[in-house]
Amino acid sequence: MPKIIFKRPKSIKENIFHYCPGCGHSIAHRLITEVIDETGIRGITIGVPPAGCAVLAYNYFDVDMIEAQHGRGPATASGIKRVLPDRIVFSYQGDGDLAAIGIAESFHAANRGENITVFFINNAVYGMTGGQMAPTTILEQKTTTTPAGRHKILDGYPVKVCELLSNLKGVAYAQRCTVTSPAQVNKTKKAIRKAFQCQKDSLGFSLVEILSPCPTNWKKSPIDSCRWIDEVMSKEFPLGVFKDDTVKTDKNAEAV
């Protein structure tokens, strides 16, 4: 009998993803659900999907979910977690959701040290609405609302979420990863596992930022999109662990 070595995670529903070819959401969904399966937390997990491309995440995650209004995921997740402190609660957010309209909710949930996990999909663009500037759009990057490229005088600078939030004492864990190669995918999965563990151990707010390709709105092929993350985007948003209270050393912010 041939041995099955790759299959659909149990915590993913049998629906067809609506995500574009080459989009990072599918990989992120898969990695999160693999960890949910492997750690046996499906029955006690409650997820909070955002407004944005992942708005239909409840069609894919086979865990209890409540869709948040745009940007309010961390507030909604805080409410759930405070009522049900023994459940695993995560919010899944894009860059506009977390760093623009929901920056206050994200910042203060982090600062309160809410014992929740936030998965932050950073693709430097507003995907669902058609490719407008995101708070994480990098300088010179062309979007439909920065047709001449993001200009620092007109549009300000890309918001660095891990750098910003890891300064808050309520944050127990913050790591930035990507999904551009099998090695990076494995690192991202480890980060997701660690973030959930952090929550299980009641250490506080955990954040996993994933630099994620958006071939459709970047107008690049999936392979070129991965290359752009590795060569350009990750220069602006360096990968690494920004905060890790699970290891009591001063060597945080080291590259992974």
Binding site: D64, E67, T76, G79, V83
Partner: protein, 351 residues
């Protein structure tokens, strides 16, 4: 149960906790700060009670949404400008059919206005307030005793219809002190099946307001509309004073109705047959009850602490069968009963 002397804002807090409210999130704003502070102090001693001072009114309502979905009895409170900020979440609660109580201790507006008592938020409260095709049950207490009773009822109504319920009072109601007796609470009747608690070994569930298919969304809107029809049929409340022999009836709610009662007392002493019709639920509005009154009364005067909002509902209810006058004091101005009595007397004599 003992009679206790408490201020309006504290009464709401105490009634909520007695009714089983175990999650409160709010952001300070005058004139309702005593309520937020009451919840901070007393939620600590309530079994499983959670209090969060949120970063904004927006965050507060979304925390309440999360806690409600997780199965807690929930409340948030604010005053006019803060209630505007909560509308995104209130619309979402209506869409997702999540129970919860929202307290609006109204102040002068529009904009930042002032911190004096006002009734300028009637339209916002009774027309849904946020975007989309929905209604919010709106309860308008006029005494401290009613603040206690209606706050408790609000939680039951929210559960019964799985919908947000608003307590609409004003700074005067929030700050005044009166003796109250807290009534016995009923055990909560709310099915576990509407709570997100983690799927366990069973199928997962989700709560959403997004319905991309217009036919699904239309069906959902009609479903809500049918629910609102049942609420209109079953939950309309009003109060009448001195209407039996009245030749003229004042229509007023909340603080304005208190002032009107004072004015009517004076007028009755002078032989003027004036009565009071007081909607207790502003939505649903006691339309047929008011219309029934127009069989014998041909002159109505609406008094509001606004430029005239409820008067629209009064006219819709009366359908032109009676004359409708109006007196308003917007922007935080509060007339004395004597001032109002003079206004009513002028209208009375004109008729």
């Amino acid at each position: 149960m003992n009679k206790v002397l408490m201020s309006g804002n504290d009464i709401i807090g105490e009634a909520a906790i007695r009714a089983g409210c175990r999650f409160y999130a709010g952001y300070p704003i005058t004139p309702q700060n005593e309520l937020t502070e009451y919840m901070a102090e007393h939620m600590r001693n309530a079994d499983g009670g959670v209090f969060i001072q949120s970063e904004s009114e927006v965050a507060a309502i979304h925390m309440v949404i999360g806690a409600s979905s997780a199965g807690a009895r929930v409340m948030t409170s604010s005053s006019s400008p803060g209630i505007s900020l909560k509308q995104e979440g209130i619309s979402s609660m209506a869409a997702c059919e999540l129970p919860g109580v929202i307290v609006n201790i109204m102040r002068g507006g529009p904009g930042l206005g002032n911190i004096r008592p006002s009734q300028g938020d009637y339209f916002q409260a009774t027309r849904g307030g946020g975007h989309g095709d929905y209604r919010t049950i709106v309860l308008a207490p006029a005494t401290c005793q009613e603040l206690a009773d209606l706050t408790m009822d609000a939680f039951d109504l929210a559960d019964k219809y799985r919908t947000p319920v608003m307590i609409l009072a004003d700074g005067m109601m929030g700050q005044m002190m009166e003796p109250v007796v807290f009534k016995k609470t009923r055990p909560r009747r709310f099915s576990e099946k509407f709570m997100l608690r983690g799927a366990g070994d069973g199928p997962s569930r989700f709560i959403r307001g997004l319905l991309l298919d217009p036919i699904d969304a239309e069906e959902h809107n009609w479903k809500l509309a049918r629910k609102y029809e049942v609420i209109v049929k079953n939950e309309t409340l009003r109060d009448e004073h001195d209407t039996e022999d009245a030749e003229m009836v004042i229509v007023a709610y909340g603080t304005a109705a208190r002032i009107a009662r004072g004015a009517i007392k004076r007028l009755r002493e002078h032989g003027m047959k004036v009565g009071l019709f007081r909607p207790v639920t502003l939505w649903p509005f006691p339309e047929s009850e008011l219309r029934a009154l127009s069989n014998k009364v041909k002159s109505f005067l609406v008094f509001e602490m606004s430029t005239g909002q409820m008067i629209d509902d009064v006219r819709l209810a009366l359908q032109g069968y009676a004359d409708t006058g109006f007196h308003g004091r917007p922007g935080g101005a509060v007339p004395t009963p004597a001032e109002l009595a003079n206004v009513i007397a002028r209208h009375y004599k004109k008729d």
